[in-house]
Symmetry: C2
């Protein structure tokens, strides 16, 4: 039935209140796929379909819907049904969802949740977003080191419905201090020695995240050590929870998207591009656009400053090449800045590589500069009053491209060095600097060549 | 001992050939951490330390070293030792490493490997890079559906050293066709019903990757369905291997880094920024820089075209604002393009959202345009011959900013629509278009206002 199922049929089942088929629809497919099939339905239709699934299945399917729809459904449906659903959702996701609801709504839902769930919410809410604490789930297997392989498997089997991941067991002492870690892989390979204890087999050198640690540092550790999950501990090494690999992919995606936005001089958006309020979007763009604008205003003053020179007959043609010169410097600079920033985010380039970076940029910018200068020279030769005069253009282009690459590559490293976000500060700075510099270089080269 | 271990001590152990301590160093720590501790050693010192580890441990530690060092070590050491190491490395990583070695070196190593390993290498090499086949490992548990929970666990336990991941079991028939999937979590929760068969418990609606599928599509599926691994099948649904979550993080990182580079008009680098040959780097940058340069040359012709107008006394001051106007249009356009491109990569914006995007950009660009125009007007009022004349500047800025946002938001969607990579084509196009357009708009508004 299911593969050929279309929206009209799903709607018909709802209209007929066809319980048997709706229950089958909720159970026959992979929960992610069930969610995908319902994408064309209205929020309230999806909610009705979900009521035909068992509570844990319902929470699973719900988890695969768009975040926006999830929030809308929690906002609009019966608080008792909402509470029942929330109880089944993984605790880290639950807290994130509640954070997106208005507080009167949250106040209506919270009292309907069991007291232990409520306490868990309060605890998780106390950690800052974008830290390890803000990402972690507490639904993790913490076991004592005296348990044998057989006992540990039994315990896992008992708890497995409650746990976010069962692929690592965390071995803790009576005070919940983290002592070591055993992977389910180790447990399974030790099935033939069922009396071995967790203490015997645990790995004691565990890579951990501190609860207050920045989420990007945590993601880096998980990537570096190829982990499925990382335990989160407080400063006294008490085990608080874990962060799982899927949350890490989200962090990596967010981090790199933010980078790309910052490079183009947009303050990273906290929300989707289509969802964010227009006034917020204007603010996040306007901030940098204004800074860039003020930098560009300086070019007007620079040109004003040189107007005596530029209005002389023999200099007048220079004006036609101003946009070309400024854009050549800006474009080569933003290439260098972007390459250095992405290489820094990828962990490839560090401040100690500064001399290497500059040496390489020098070579590349000379090659690019010479090539573009030649094109520029050919064109200028036709437009300028004389071929000798035309040499102003290639000389300026070469200088501006080399300067653009130099500043583009240097500023991100320098900003990082003094503790600023390299992606946030560099492209606007590079653009501003190179614009002004371009004009100054241009006029001065012209003065020398044209006399 | 280990936490206080410093490089000099490690070097001393090597000098003394202190076997006991070196063996302990290789085994006491998490293998990732062992690799980290050795970062300061020379390649040949690391290789010597590695010889003190058991073969499988050695391969694990080796896997955490920088890729560049891995390749260098495989290149320089005794082929027999290299072959012994390669045998223990996961098959997908092994093929990637061999691809980085020169072919005489590969020819020296291959004959030293067991025949089944050699065959495996040949098979994996036959799949294109950047496809599912190019990422997958074949070291996966494929089991028959008649196996019971107990038998399956025994089988897993027997195979577990060989497998890349044991967190899903893939159920196949006698022809290796994929029938379903059982997670180790299900297996563990079914420990109390040990006679259940895999066929009874398997999930038959499995999310799969086709062997020829693009790696970005595969990564999207893994993210969307929160998988630890995805099975790779051929067109007849024969099971070939799996792709694990750590390879997916790498794909996501590469994809987004490429996006950021394309947005800044650099052809994505195939290699690290510090490692890539300078001539290749110049080519990858020069290609787009030249296209941008030629677009910018058109501005010179546009200005030349208007030179009769611009050289008149009452128009002459307009020249000072040319860089400002061009950069305002270009910057707002590149903001819009970057936001739309990142939202498309994140799966948020599709072509069907075009009307929404344009409506939103219209509002935002008007707000930004009005604000920046006001600043521009104030400055122009001081510089222009009269306040009335100064109105040319805000009118032009507003038009150029609105045009920049319109083209910036439209082109990526349009490019995607006609099958081009939106990130690759849009920023250069936006910049080029807006530069020329800016000059045309500027001169024409000036003609109307100044008469």
């Amino acid at each position: 039935m299911v593969n050929t199922l279309l929206l009209p049929e799903l709607r018909e089942m709802l209209a007929d209140d066809n319980q048997a088929e709706l229950v089958e629809f909720c159970n026959a497919l992979n929960p992610g796929r069930t969610a995908e099939f319902m994408e064309g339905l209205k929020d309230r239709e999806i909610w009705r379909v979900l009521q035909f699934a068992e509570p844990d299945r319902r929470a699973e399917i719900f988890g695969y819907l768009d975040e926006e729809r999830q929030v809308a459904m929690l906002d609009q449906n019966d608080p008792a049904e909402v509470a029942q659903l929330l109880e089944e959702i993984a605790d880290d996701d639950r807290v994130d969802l509640l954070q997106d609801l208005e507080s009167p709504r949250v106040d209506a839902i919270l009292p309907l949740l069991p007291v232990d769930v409520r306490r868990n919410i309060q605890r998780l809410r106390s950690y800052a977003e974008e830290t390890a604490g803000g990402l972690m789930t507490t639904q993790v297997a913490m076991l004592a080191e005296r348990l044998t392989v057989r006992e540990a498997l039994d315990e896992l089997s008992r708890q497995s419905d409650e746990l976010e991941t069962i692929y690592y067991l965390y071995v803790v002492d009576d005070d919940n201090l983290l002592r070591g870690i055993v992977s389910t892989r180790q447990l399974v390979s030790s099935l033939r020695t069922p009396d071995l204890t967790l203490g015997d087999m645990m790995e004691t050198d565990v890579v951990v995240a501190l609860v207050s640690e920045d989420q990007e540092t945590v993601a880096e550790k998980v990537e570096r050590f190829n982990l499925l999950a990382i335990p989160v501990v407080d400063s006294g090494r008490q085990m608080l929870g874990i962060i799982t690999h899927d949350d890490v992919i989200d962090v990596v995606r967010d981090e790199l998207t933010e980078d790309a936005q910052r490079i183009a001089a947009v303050e990273p958006l906290d929300d989707g591009y289509l969802r964010i309020a227009l006034i917020t979007l204007s603010w996040k763009r306007g901030l940098w656009l204004t800074i860039l604008f003020i930098a560009a205003l300086l070019t007007a003053f620079a040109l004003l400053h040189y107007h005596d020179v530029l209005e002389q007959e023999k200099y007048r043609w220079l004006v036609w090449f101003i946009p070309l010169i400024i854009s050549a410097g800006g474009n080569s600079g933003s290439q260098s800045a972007t390459l250095v920033i992405t290489a820094m985010t990828g962990g490839e380039v560090h401040y100690s590589d500064y001399p290497t970076v500059i040496r390489r940029e020098a070579v590349v910018s000379l090659m690019l500069g010479v090539f573009l200068s030649l094109i520029g020279f050919v064109v200028a030769a036709f437009i300028a009053p004389s071929v000798q005069a035309a040499t102003v253009i290639p000389l300026t282009l070469l200088s501006v491209i080399v300067a653009g690459c130099f500043f583009g590559a240097s500023l991100p490293l320098l900003f990082k060095r003094i503790g600023l976000d390299p992606a946030m500060m560099s492209n606007p700075f590079v653009a501003g600097l190179v614009d002004i510099l371009g004009i100054v270089i241009y006029v001065n080269i012209a003065k020398v060549v044209l006399g």
